[in-house]
């Protein structure tokens, strides 16, 4: 039987926050495996954003809001969106270069729909999304003039990791992907589509990771063949099976994303084996990670800082606000993470990367923005502050200023209303604040709770 603290930890990492209703559901599970299976039972159709504007400046906000709402409120199994976020930061494309929200949505919906299925299929399919063809210049990769950008990053960042291929492998991989390009429809970005141009493809036989490639009759499949070699028969320059190298490279990245602590060799071996044994099927692979005892160690439980997207999702969940109201998307860049705009092809990093004075200044501004909407109607004559798990009336706030004890009690009312568990230092600091606050300052407790260290940890 999983413990309550294990379930809470598991939910925070897989569903962004531990909603009390989900904690109750999973506490009824017979085992951690059963709880993880419940979490991974994602809907076949995760829905899709419907744009009401033809302008990308509006669509980018609409797509962001749709996705954050799925994460915070709408998805019955938020791991589906969390995994899409992982792939979005792994198989990176940025709209800064792609320049079309329609194309970004196509790629993102692929990650959302198939992110927990076969890694091989996902990698092959994402390679020819127009967003990726543009982002890494494969739409400029021709037999007559290869562009090695995608071929290199496919091995370095997407599947194997740096050091596990040679420059000749890069050239071979780039050759295999020649000819996959896009149509160009200036002014009609929605009509830009994938295009296969056989005469731009270099169909000469190559060697990749010691294997012969590019020899098949179906030349359009030569690109996908490179991924198959990396995930099956390839051998790295150091003589290791590429499949094992890929499993370890990707397992480390998954561990860093979900656990955060420094992994032991054992847990990496265990998770990597789950990858190779399942032919890189994500669900059993991830299940091996989420059920491993090391995932529940103190180091892992205290091992992860909430990335800005997770932080915003946690704010929305704590306040019940919809993203359209609650997400200050203009502050996300400053916090260091804006959906659809990863900083570069290596994606977002974890933990330390998020922590600096400037970024936390923006987190505080974000919390302030959210609290403004929580309190907006209260200050403009409304009778109560509506929180997901409590309604706190004007009279209650005012009356609580009467005594220090009542002022401390209101700290609990706000924290409970937002379903946030405060640690001892935060609790003491807020009690101290409340005991000196006038009644109207008590509303500052909302913003202080929303920026407390507990909110910034995953």
């Amino acid at each position: 039987m999983p413990s309550r603290s294990e379930i809470i930890h598991l939910l925070r990492r897989t569903e962004f926050v531990a909603r009390p209703v989900r904690v109750a559901e999973l506490m009824a599970a017979s085992s951690l495996e059963a709880a993880v299976n419940n979490i991974l039972a994602v809907p076949a159709d995760p829905g899709a954003a419907v744009f009401t504007s033809s302008q990308d400046s509006q669509r980018v906000v609409q797509l962001t809001d749709f996705w954050l709402n799925r994460m915070a409120h709408d998805s019955p199994r938020p791991i589906q969106e969390k995994m899409a976020l992982f792939w979005h930061g792994h198989f990176c494309s940025s709209n800064a270069k792609v320049g079309s929200i329609n194309l970004m949505q196509q790629q993102l919906d692929l990650f959302r729909r198939d992110g927990l299925e076969s890694f091989r299929t996902l990698a092959v399919t994402m390679s020819t999304t127009v967003a990726m063809l543009r982002y890494l210049d494969n739409n400029q990769n021709f037999w007559s003039s290869p562009n090695e950008n995608f071929g290199r990053e496919l091995m370095e960042l997407f599947v194997l990791g740096v050091g596990n291929y040679t420059e000749l492998d890069v050239q071979a991989c780039a050759a295999a992907w020649t000819g996959h390009t896009d149509t160009y429809n200036p002014g009609h970005p929605d009509h830009e589509t994938y295009r296969w141009v056989p005469w731009d493809h270099d169909a000469s036989v190559k060697t990749l990771l010691g294997q012969t490639i590019n020899a098949g009759v179906n030349t359009q499949q030569h690109g996908a063949e490179t991924i198959d070699v990396m995930l099956s028969t390839g051998v790295t320059p150091m003589g290791r099976p590429a499949r094992d190298v890929a499993a370890e490279f990707l397992s480390r990245k998954l561990w860093a994303f979900f656990a955060g602590s420094a992994p032991s060799a054992d847990v990496i071996a265990h998770v990597s084996a789950a990858a190779t044994n399942s032919n890189f099927n994500v669900k059993p692979w991830l299940s091996a990670l989420l059920t491993h005892p090391e995932f529940y160690s103190d180091a892992a439980r205290t091992g992860l800082v909430r990335p800005p997207i997770d932080y915003v999702v946690a704010l929305l969940a704590a306040t019940g606000l919809r993203s359209e109201t609650g997400t200050p998307w203009w502050l996300m860049e400053g916090m260091g993470q804006r959906p659809l705009f990863p900083p570069d092809v290596s994606g977002w990093k974890n933990n330390a990367n998020w922590i600096n004075a400037s970024a936390f200044g923006r987190r505080a501004s974000t919390a302030r923005h959210v609290s403004y909407f929580v309190l907006g109607s209260f200050w403009s004559g409304g009778s109560a502050i509506q929180l997901p798990a409590a309604t706190i009336s004007f009279a209650e706030v005012q009356a609580s200023a009467a005594s220090a004890g009542a002022r401390r009690n209101i700290v609990s009312r706000f924290a409970d209303g937002m379903q946030i568990n405060l640690g001892p230092a935060s609790r003491a600091a807020l009690d101290e604040f409340a005991s000196n606050a006038s009644w109207f300052e008590l509303t500052d407790l909302i913003i202080l709770i929303l920026i407390c260290p507990e909110m910034n940890l995953a």
Binding site: D137, S145, G334, D344, A357, A364, N436
Partner: protein, 820 residues
């Protein structure tokens, strides 16, 4: 072949990192705590251990090291993505260049000519100006052996200053390790941007992330905000490494915001192009003289695999615009101390690809420029002859040699340690930092925060709104502000002035009101200096930072009131006397005859008071800080203190009506014999004075701050929410709060008392010392009274306040502090 030990994860994780290891020991703070005997007390207090105090440090305490006159400042501009060096410094006479770069090649007549064989990209006119002045060094062929084609590995190697190594530290961070030598300073090196890059991470030290727009949270200083901030500080506690890191980051955000806010414009006032805005902020941070020696910025994207012509031109334009903005914003006095350098993780291939782009290359030229740079070509341009489609250019200058030239030539040395070995110094600099072409050293520019020494002047009235002297005629209206020029007026010089010592008097007030005095051009703080009302002139001494424009500003809260400003001296970065704070003690009292002949002071009487050699003031003191009080006054009048050897008259220190007991702080020069003359009209009055410190050849320097509220018992700020007195004391922590560093020895506060229920007096003294027989504010029922207080800080950087006879609320605003 790539090194098999390099994993992308490791290389990338190290490119950006947390600002500071939460477990790092702050040695300076530790020694201070131990030195003050704080250890035992804190351990015994139950809630916090000594270790908590050391690790849970307050970064505002670290701003202790502004730039000195012989120190160089380095601005590093990163061009991320791999800049095409061939189209930046164009070798237009090289046929291979045109063959290989194809359509991307720039014709010679479309470049800014350098030497007949090469020209600068036409979008770089600002760099061309530096070249024409002979102050742009173009270092050709900078790179490293066996260049890595991965952006991330190559960037990591460049930032680390270590080719082909997994390094957890960067070259500027290791320089910082040596520069700070075990101490800590949040304001020594910074990235203007969102995160702290690897090159600013040292083995012990880390650079700071300064936001590239005016921060929101942390930039307001009202009581309610300060209480919010205090709650955030208190949330720091045990909870694992990341708990401590995020809790500290939130506090750092507050402290950095509070420190840089006066220098960072609103976003609306900053240029829209990110790198241009960042370079403006960089220049402003240098102007502020917070102590920054290294400022780094970065921008992109330079990764021009496709569409290079428009992409590269845009980047070049942005770079040039950023440099124009930087030098336009930088105070000209800083110029001989500033050098700018560029870097990029690699150049690009000499062969163009079919997508109007170039692929990842190897070596490239880099720029180093500034007034003290020796312009010209350095290194060697790599040949393009025989390069195939995927061949990369050779490199001729190891990037460690490039760095070593800057570390040893401009940052004070230590390159061999920073770079793990000796690398050639290219000799890029014509002169040492601060040195001008004629060999003299440029004086350090003044800013309100610069440590300064005191220069007394013959008292001069610089504003009188009743007659329109130097200011518009007419009282200051409700919520109106009077701007008063102080630098360059009378004996106060136009430059080098950080703060002014002036008596500001409110006259003919129509309602109870207050004046807020603050540095010219600064945001108006939530503080007050003079609390006046109808029926009486109310003076108060101010020690106020002077704005970069040479002004101070006086804001009036209610009704209207005339304003007089008399200047008694100024603080300077170039000349003057240092301050020694004393434990308060009574210097003289005409009621008892202590230190003076007994009996009231008559209207035409000149009473000589010996100062040097008494009450802790040594022989040789140049000026003293006294609190002068008048009491048992028989008629309206005033008191004045004048150095012996000068003729009394024309100025005043205290104004009173019959029956008043009033006090005002006085900073006055001593006569050659170390004495003062006490005079004043108005028949009989007793006078007494308490000494708080003196100015002389040795001692501490003064740093003014933009005023910040430290204490308000009405709000529970800095002390419990309760009036103080009678005979009750409050202990107020000053150091590490409201912008006062832990190293402060004394503080300049404006203290006000309000909600006074009966006549009384307030005494302020260093915490932990016996109560002296002195007073600072004399209170009357129903009045709000303010007076400047300059007092040495006692145990744990605190002061004790005591109201003797009645109850009142007390407010205190920080105006500045003294540091060794």
């Amino acid at each position: 072949m790539l090194d098999r030990d390099i994993s992308t994860r490791n290389a990338l994780a190290h490119l950006n990192s947390i600002e500071r290891d939460p477990h790092a020991l702050d040695r300076r703070r530790f020694l201070q705590l131990v030195g003050m005997g704080a250890g035992a007390g804190l351990v015994g207090s139950g809630s916090k251990s000594l270790l908590d105090m050391i690790t849970g440090h307050d970064p505002s305490t670290w701003a202790v090291g502004p730039v000195t006159s012989d120190q160089g400042i380095l601005v590093v501009v990163g061009m991320f993505g791999g800049n095409d060096g061939l189209n930046t410094v164009v070798p237009f006479t090289d046929g291979n260049y045109h063959d290989q770069h194809g359509a991307l090649a720039v014709p010679g007549d479309q470049t800014l000519a350098l030497d007949g064989q090469s020209g600068l990209n036409s979008r770089l006119p600002e760099l061309k100006r530096w070249w024409d002045r002979g102050q742009l060094a173009i270092v050709e062929g900078v790179g490293y052996d066996n260049a890595d084609q991965s952006h991330f590995n190559s960037m990591a190697y460049w930032m680390a200053g270590r080719p082909h190594a997994i390094s957890t530290s960067g070259w500027l961070g290791r320089w910082l390790d040596g520069y700070l030598a075990g101490t800590t300073d949040l304001y020594a090196a910074a990235e203007v941007g969102q995160s702290v890059p690897l090159h600013l991470i040292g083995q012990q030290q880390r650079g700071t992330g300064v936001p590239d727009q005016r921060p929101d949270w942390g930039s307001t200083f009202d009581t309610r905000s300060e209480r919010n901030y205090q709650a955030m500080r208190s949330m720091r506690g045990a909870g694992g490494r990341w708990y401590e890191a995020v809790a500290q980051a939130a506090v750092d955000a507050i402290d950095v915001a509070g420190t840089v806010t006066p220098f960072v414009p609103d976003q609306a006032d900053l240029p829209s192009v990110e790198i241009v805005a960042r370079m403006e902020v960089a220049a402003r941070l240098i102007n502020a003289n917070l102590g920054f020696r290294v400022i780094t910025v970065g921008f992109g994207d330079f990764d021009s695999h496709a569409g290079q012509p428009s992409m590269h031109s845009t980047r070049m334009t942005e770079l040039d615009d950023a440099l124009v903005k930087f030098f336009a914003t930088l105070g000209p006095d800083w110029l001989p101390r500033v050098t700018v350098m560029t870097f990029s993780e690699f150049g690009r291939t000499s062969h163009a690809n079919a997508g109007q782009g170039t692929d990842h290359g190897s070596s490239a030229p880099q720029f180093v420029f500034g007034p003290n740079v020796k312009g010209g070509f350095y290194g060697q341009r790599p040949t393009l002859a025989g390069l195939g489609r995927w061949d990369r250019m050779a490199y001729h200058v190891d990037f460690r040699s490039y760095y070593a030239s800057v570390i040893d030539g401009w940052l004070g040395g230590g390159a061999a340690t920073v770079l793990d070995g000796n690398f050639e110094n290219l000799g890029l600099f014509a002169r040492a930092p601060g040195q001008l072409e004629d060999g003299s050293v440029a004086p350090l520019p003044a800013s309100p925060g610069s440590p300064s020494t005191f220069v007394p002047v013959t008292p001069t009235r610089v504003a009188d709104t009743r007659i329109g002297s130097l200011v518009p005629i007419g009282p200051i209206g409700v919520e109106q502000t009077l701007r008063v020029r102080v630098a360059g007026v009378g004996m106060v010089p136009a430059t080098g002035v950080t703060a002014v010592v002036a008596n500001v008097t409110a006259v003919d007030a129509t309602e109870p009101h207050f004046f807020t005095v603050y540095p010219g051009g600064a945001p108006r703080p939530v503080t007050s200096n003079i609390n006046g009302g109808p029926g009486r002139p109310v003076p108060n001494l101010v020690v106020m930072g002077v704005g970069a424009d040479g002004f101070i500003e006086v804001f009036n809260s209610h009704g209207s009131a005339h304003c007089l400003v008399d200047v008694f001296g100024y603080f300077s970065t170039t000349a003057g006397d240092r301050f020694t704070a004393l434990s308060p003690s009574r210097l003289f009292d005409t009621r008892t005859g202590q230190g003076v002949r007994p009996g009231k002071v008559g209207p035409r009487e000149v009473v000589e008071v010996a100062v040097a050699g008494f009450a802790g003031v040594p022989a040789g003191a140049k000026a003293v800080v006294l609190n002068l009080a008048a009491t048992e006054t028989d008629a309206p009048g005033y008191l004045a203190l004048t150095p012996t050897g000068q003729t009394p008259g024309g100025t005043s220190n205290i104004n009173f009506f019959a029956g008043d007991t009033v006090a005002n702080l006085v900073i006055v020069q001593l006569g050659p014999d170390g004495k003062l003359l006490l005079t004043g009209p108005g028949s009989g009055k007793h006078a007494l004075a308490d000494v708080f410190g003196y100015f002389g050849d040795s001692g501490d320097r003064f740093r003014s701050v933009s005023p910040r509220r430290l204490l308000d018992t009405r709000e529970g700020l800095g002390a419990p929410l309760a009036r103080i007195g009678p005979q009750r004391v409050i202990d107020v922590t000053v150091a590490s709060r409201a912008g006062v560093p832990a190293s402060a020895t004394a503080v300049v506060l404006n203290v006000a008392a309000t909600n006074v229920d009966a006549p009384s007096f307030i005494t302020v003294w260093p915490r932990g010392e016996p109560q002296p027989n002195t007073s600072n504010l004399n209170l009357a029922a129903g009045q709000t009274v303010a007076n400047l207080v300059i007092c040495r800080l006692g145990a744990t950087g605190g002061l004790t306040f005591r109201n003797e006879l009645s109850e009142c609320d007390v407010l205190a605003d920080v105006m500045g502090y003294c540091v060794p």
